[in-house]
């Protein structure tokens, strides 16, 4: 397995820049997940690593070897496609061995490697079947098998679970995590599903509009989002945002009131900021205090062990609070909510994290 290093990577279609100055290192044996809204460039980045898209500038190195000008087959990568892209006219064994045949691998070796992959993925009884005779999950495993037999330096996954139903998606996610451990593989994985990202990744890369917004360990991104975009993108339900202005010793939230906050520099006084707090760090509690805001209950969602209360603040901003167990709150009730000061996020006028 090998390390993938991407430096100053740029790509444009005509005047449209789809990748802007991407720098990214995928450590040897690590599992890196690219997430972002559709059209953010994550798939393009993956296809650039694969060599399926020519790049406009920058370098891509795999295992210390610059691969910019190499065709996909010589980059020692293997790719699992969203639609699996199995050859419909070949059986499972032929599908898995097809690339090796063209690399002039000896027949015995191809058979051995296909058998090995089939064993790992429990595909042995299906080797003589055609793709259309397989279920979605089986096709998915064949697609992964096709990648394994190539013994690549890097595995590339392009939204591999998006065509599966919910239950199968969870199963396959676990399978992929196990496979990563088993093969000690370097994996770059694209998804728009943040649960997949959080559970699978050693490192998450959040992309937006062709740029990397932040990269880091899943929980680092969760607890210390670098900017408003990442804060809003990671976590479900999304982080609450309240607009305000920095004052001496606190933040004026306009009609919503004010919060006292230590540690703000004097220079920041007067600047417009956004206060962010996750639903699980908002408590419903009557009374007054430095970090309390009054609100009206709009809707209560009960999920059983937990629930979400949607609250409207005087300014019109809607905030969500997570509750544990039962609550007597009903739509229309007036209440107040307390913000946990250790989990407050503050973003400056440019959207970057402050403090």
């Amino acid at each position: 397995m090998a390390e993938v290093r991407i430096e100053n990577l740029r790509k444009s279609f005509g005047a449209v820049e789809v990748l802007k100055d991407i720098d990214l290192t995928v450590e040897d044996g690590s599992f890196v997940v690219l997430v972002g809204p559709s059209g953010c460039g994550k798939s393009t980045l993956l296809r650039s690593i694969a060599g399926l898209e020519p790049v406009s500038g920058g370098t891509i190195t795999i295992g210390g070897r610059k691969v910019n000008d190499l065709p996909p087959a010589q980059r020692e990568i293997a790719m699992v496609f969203q639609s699996y892209a199995l050859y419909p006219h070949m059986d499972v064994a032929a599908n898995m061995g097809f690339g090796l045949r063209f690399a002039r691998t000896p027949k015995a070796e191809i058979e051995a490697r296909v058998a090995e992959a089939a064993r790992i993925l429990q595909l042995e009884p299906l080797l003589k079947r055609r793709p259309r005779e397989l279920s979605g999950g089986q096709r998915q495993r064949v697609a992964i098998g096709r990648a394994i037999v190539r013994k690549p330096q890097v595995f590339l996954f392009d939204e591999p679970l998006s065509n599966l139903d919910a239950a199968l998606r969870i199963n396959t996610r676990v399978e992929i995590a196990k496979l990563h451990k088993l093969l000690a593989a370097t994996i770059v994985y694209v998804t728009h599903d943040q649960v997949e990202a959080m559970t699978l990744a050693d490192k998450i890369v959040v992309m937006n509009q062709g740029r990397i917004e932040q990269q880091g360990k899943p929980l680092d991104l969760y607890y210390r989002p670098a900017n408003l975009f990442v804060a809003g993108f990671i976590g479900s339900p999304a982080m609450n945002f309240i607009a305000g202005q920095v004052t001496q010793g606190g933040i004026d939230l306009g009609p919503d009131g004010a919060v006292t906050l230590a540690g703000l520099t004097a220079a920041a006084v007067g600047s417009r900021v956004t206060l962010g707090i996750r639903p699980e760090h908002v408590r419903i509690a009557d009374g007054e205090g430095g970090l309390r805001l009054s609100a009206t209950v709009e809707l209560v969602e009960r999920l059983g062990e937990a629930g979400y209360v949607h609250l409207r603040l005087p300014s019109g901003t809607v905030a969500v609070a997570e509750i544990r167990g039962e609550t007597s709150l009903r739509t229309g009730d007036r209440t107040s909510l307390a913000l946990d000061p250790t989990h407050l996020h503050l973003f400056g006028p440019d959207g970057r994290r402050m403090v």
């Binding site: 296809r47 694969a50 060599g51 399926l52 065709p71 996909p72 087959a73 010589q74 990568i77 293997a78 790719m79 496609f81 969203q82 639609s83 892209a85 199995l86 050859y87 419909p88 006219h89 097809f98 690339g99 063209f102 690399a103 259309r132 096709r146």
Partner: protein
């Protein structure tokens, strides 16, 4: 729904189509087959003749010589289409479907253009171009130092049929091209990407991945070519007239049928023999279609993506 209302509904929706189709398509076909079993008398009446007309057509030299000649010519006509039109159509479709090709729409539109025009126009235009009187073709060959190759191809018994066939190929190559092009476009891009990752170049990806997936379309194109070729008439009639000269060298089943039915300078028209020729054509086409359906199509695997 009450039975009566339902019936009225069916009659309303199905009636017009079935009426027109039955009267102007199925009835004439059946009547033609029936006609071929009678013989037309000089006084205009018809006498039952059983398979006599077919015996005459196949074994009486005045009839059988032109018949076998037309049949043979028609097979050559078909073979030239299969060996030139369809491979060229495949090549053009393969090139047109290449990713990131510039001017794709322009090429496609222009190459399809001749297919839009009437065979009469096409036939006559080529007749002028190949005519020694105008000398365009000769001039062209001379530019490449090949002037000695020129001959009045359309006028020579040895080359007239091939020339007419190639003109037909030139006109209709757009049809296989478009059909195969469509089939190629239906192949998902990811499949080609997968082949690229598997180490195949464009050409190999075409041969090993795309071609096996478009066999059903190539089969369809072949049977369409067969039916159209054995039903052809317009081009030969427009270029060489009903007599399909020189000396019947370009005579195909369609022109033979026309001559037999309407007559010409050499013979009187004969509806019964005309029907017999039409019935033979029907038989040939049916045999071809059946052979395709039962022998070829069954072996071709269809794929949905």
């Amino acid at each position: 729904m009450p039975q009566g209302t339902f019936l009225r509904l069916l009659v309303f929706f199905l009636g017009p189509a079935l009426l027109v189709y039955s009267v102007f398509s199925i009835y004439p076909l059946l009547a033609t087959i029936l006609n071929s079993l009678y013989s037309h008398q000089r006084d205009g009446s018809y006498l039952w003749n059983g398979l006599g007309n077919f015996q005459t057509l196949l074994f009486d030299p005045t009839w059988s010589v032109p018949f076998w000649n037309a049949l043979k010519n028609n097979f050559i006509f078909f073979l030239i289409h299969m060996c030139v039109q369809n491979p060229v159509g495949l090549l053009l479709a393969a090139l047109l479907s290449l990713p990131r090709l510039r001017f794709r729409a322009t090429y496609r539109t222009l190459i399809f253009m001749p297919t839009m025009l009437s065979v009469v126009v096409i036939g006559f235009a080529w007749q002028l171009i190949l005519s020694p009187l105008w000398g365009i073709a000769k001039m062209f060959l001379q530019t490449f130092g090949l002037g000695f190759l020129f001959a009045p191809w359309l006028g020579l018994e040895s080359s007239a049929l091939i020339t007419v066939s190639l003109i037909s190929v030139w006109q209709f190559v757009g049809i296989p091209m478009i059909l195969i092009y469509t089939a190629l476009l239906a192949i998902p891009d990811e499949l080609v990407d997968a082949a690229t990752v598997d180490g195949l170049n464009q050409f190999q990806a075409f041969v090993w991945v795309k071609l096996p997936l478009i066999w059903p379309t190539i089969g369809l194109v072949s049977i369409l070519t067969f039916v159209n070729n054995f039903n052809a008439f317009d081009l030969v009639y427009a270029m060489k007239g009903a007599l399909a000269g020189p000396n019947f060298a370009t005579d195909i089943m369609g022109t033979l049928f026309y001559r037999t039915f309407f007559g010409n300078q050499l013979q009187l028209g004969d509806p019964s023999m005309g029907s017999a020729v039409a019935t033979m054509m029907l038989l040939i086409i049916l045999i071809g279609v059946m052979a395709y359906l039962f022998l070829v199509q069954r072996r071709i695997q269809r794929y949905s993506f």
